[in-house]
Amino acid sequence: MILNELAITPELVAQHGLTPEEYRRILDLIGREPSITELGIFSAMWNEHCSYKSSRVHLRTLPTKAPWVIQGPGENAGVIDIGDGLACVFKMESHNHPSYIEPYQGAATGVGGILRDVFTMGARPIACLNALSFGDPKHPKTRHLVAGVVAGIGGYGNSFGVPTVGGQVRFHTRYDGNNLVNAMAVGLAETDKIFYAAASGVGMPIVYLGSKTGRDGIHGASMASAEFGADAEEKRPTVQVGDPFSEKLLLEACLEIMAKGCVIAIQDMGAAGLTCSAVEMGAKGGLGVTLDLDKVPCRETAMTAYEMMLSESQERMLMVLKPEKEQEAEAIFRKWGLDFAVVGETTPSMRFIVCHQGVQVVDLPIKELGDEAPVYHRPFVETPKPPVIRAEDVYAPVPLAETLETLLATPDLCSRRWVWEQYDHVIGGNTVQRPGGDAAVVRVDEGPKALAMTADVTPRYCEADPFEGGKQAVAEAWRNLTAVGARPLAVTDNLNFGNPERPEIMGQLVGCIRGIAEACTALVFPVVSGNVSLYNETKFAGEESGRAILPTPTIGGVGVLDDFAISATLAFKAEGEAILLVGATQGWLGQSLYLRDICGREDGAPPPVDLAAEKRNGDLVRALIGERIATAVHDVSDGGLLVALAEMAMASGIGAQLDASPSDIPAHAFWFGEDQGRYALTLRANAVAAVVARAQAAGIPLRHLGTTGGDALTLPGERHMLAANLRQCSESWLPAYMAGGPA
């Protein structure tokens, strides 16, 4: 019999983020009033973050299978086969709200959490990426958030000892009260040594490992699912502090006991800590679990059962060990100076039972805790399609050269060096392509195999047309992997949206997922893991409803290179090489950075993605890299063609003489339009004819753009654009801004 130490009032139910209907469902399920600890457990298991109640029906439509997928969504991270008995384990996760409240620790613990997801599966992390969205540079909080988040990501990853090799940074006023921090980790394991969460065997000891439990982040999981009110800064929820040192020890200890064959099941304690991890271990294994909280190592005195079950203290794990190996495992953990305690056991009962100070405080059906979580088919309205903007109707205010220099120095296009120089991107000795290129390339052990990775999304496209925007995010990730010569294999997604209870936000989520599903299917680029972050909106005083972020479905893509020596980088390699453009150009200015940052208009339909053309174009480019014909490759994305060519010139110091634009497209639309599915590449002059013939045979548009050489980009009728000057434009803004300079 569970005694109620506290009467469960409607207010208490509401404070736990549960609706009256959800509470009724709980009463039906257990046939009595829950104890306060049980209520806390339901609130943790049934909140958006853990149950995916708003997104689940739509996530099911994502393609998750391919012959190389070993583990799709449903475990701590996705697993794909990369050949030679090796698997790549990866996932992305958001730590948005915590990073707004306390940017350094919020971002740091976000990195810590995703690293744990990866090494929990038996993989040694080999790289991290991150996708960051901040508010308007002019907003008074933005600098502080950028400084803190970047330092936090670096602070954790650098100390833990994983190279942070890539990511994204953007600024937009719609992130003013809700910056986004999406962290991705990639690890390596042997295909036959992957570890899962499902417990097996009755009467098996459940072991608690890692750091001690404190009152960190209680209500954190619920916080991550509740819309921010104007008083968010006053509430000051408990912030978790990251301890990368302990996590590094935890990594080494876990990998050591896994290698010694001690582990049956393992689950990290992430959001809603002990509750989620214990319930998942039992439910996935078809077993009950009994926990004795008196055995849990605590950092603070007089912790209640409620607090222990909901604490989000970091750097902790739960494991089921082979009983005969328990002592060996304990010795390893002690050697690394980590806590080790048997806190419970598996049972045949299918009940989740928790005892504290001799009293049973929880007795719940374990399977139903997860399975019976509400699933909502929330009403949604589709985002109306915006009108297509004709290039002829866009007035070109300034000459091309000046436009290029202006664009290169904008917050969204300028160099991110200031950010990634704060991340150790060379540790491990395997970073073949460092940040700054299309995709990072990290050698696998001694090579020659390597992994390519990237994180992409263009939120302004998603806002204008969620379906096309969702497609574009996937296509761009695929394109970035292709541009270094890799075979794209699979993605992880991190879906960041506003309040799903608003039909127009739900419409964005549904539209983006449809677009992602369509692109992933067409490109055979399945989704193997991911995360959803909703309620990213802020209600400002006097406003009826919240102001949501731009829909931001970040796509993390991973691909493989059989030999890292046969890959491409974006820098021009030599003078006198031909520059070609693969893919069709129409001069698409709707939602382009040109339109926004030069013309001051943020409107129109985003560029559509033709997935068949995408695939054809990419396959040709990858083949040209594989045959060592293409000497430099860069995909054409944000900012358009001239920006892409400038990036190739800046990376090398070599310029180019460019041909005039075609007469049937306005010059500004040709050079700055954001048509999709395109790559700029260079070839030795004697290779051009054969490539032209190949493209023609495959029905792929190919256009001669010019010839490399000199120290400037030159265009007929325009002043010279010195590579060194362009670099100056590109490199200056962010460091100057962070030093207090103009926004």
Binding site: Q105, D216, T238, V239, G242, D243, S246, G337
Partner: protein, 80 residues
């Protein structure tokens, strides 16, 4: 005027620094250490002689920059 602002972690907030130091002191054979928490001090020299104004400015400095009041407490002393 001289002042000192002392910033310490709030109770209950994890202090990885303190824990690592605790362990190190024990293994160095320093007896009887039950716990260590690490904090910061800022020794500040101020122009002017108005104590009240100085205290207000220091409080402002602590709130805006020196302490992260989500996880830290601070104390301001004007020492002379």
């Amino acid at each position: 005027m001289k002042a000192r602002i002392t910033v310490t972690l709030r109770a209950g907030i994890l202090d990885p620094q303190g824990r690592a130091i605790e362990g190190a002191l024990r293994s160095l054979g320093i007896a009887g250490v039950a716990s260590v928490r690490q904090g910061k001090v800022f020794d500040i020299e101020l122009e002017g002689t108005d104590r009240g104004a100085a205290e207000a400015a220091l409080k402002d400095a602590a709130d805006k920059l020196l302490a992260n009041t989500v996880i830290e407490n601070y104390r301001v002393e004007v020492v002379g």
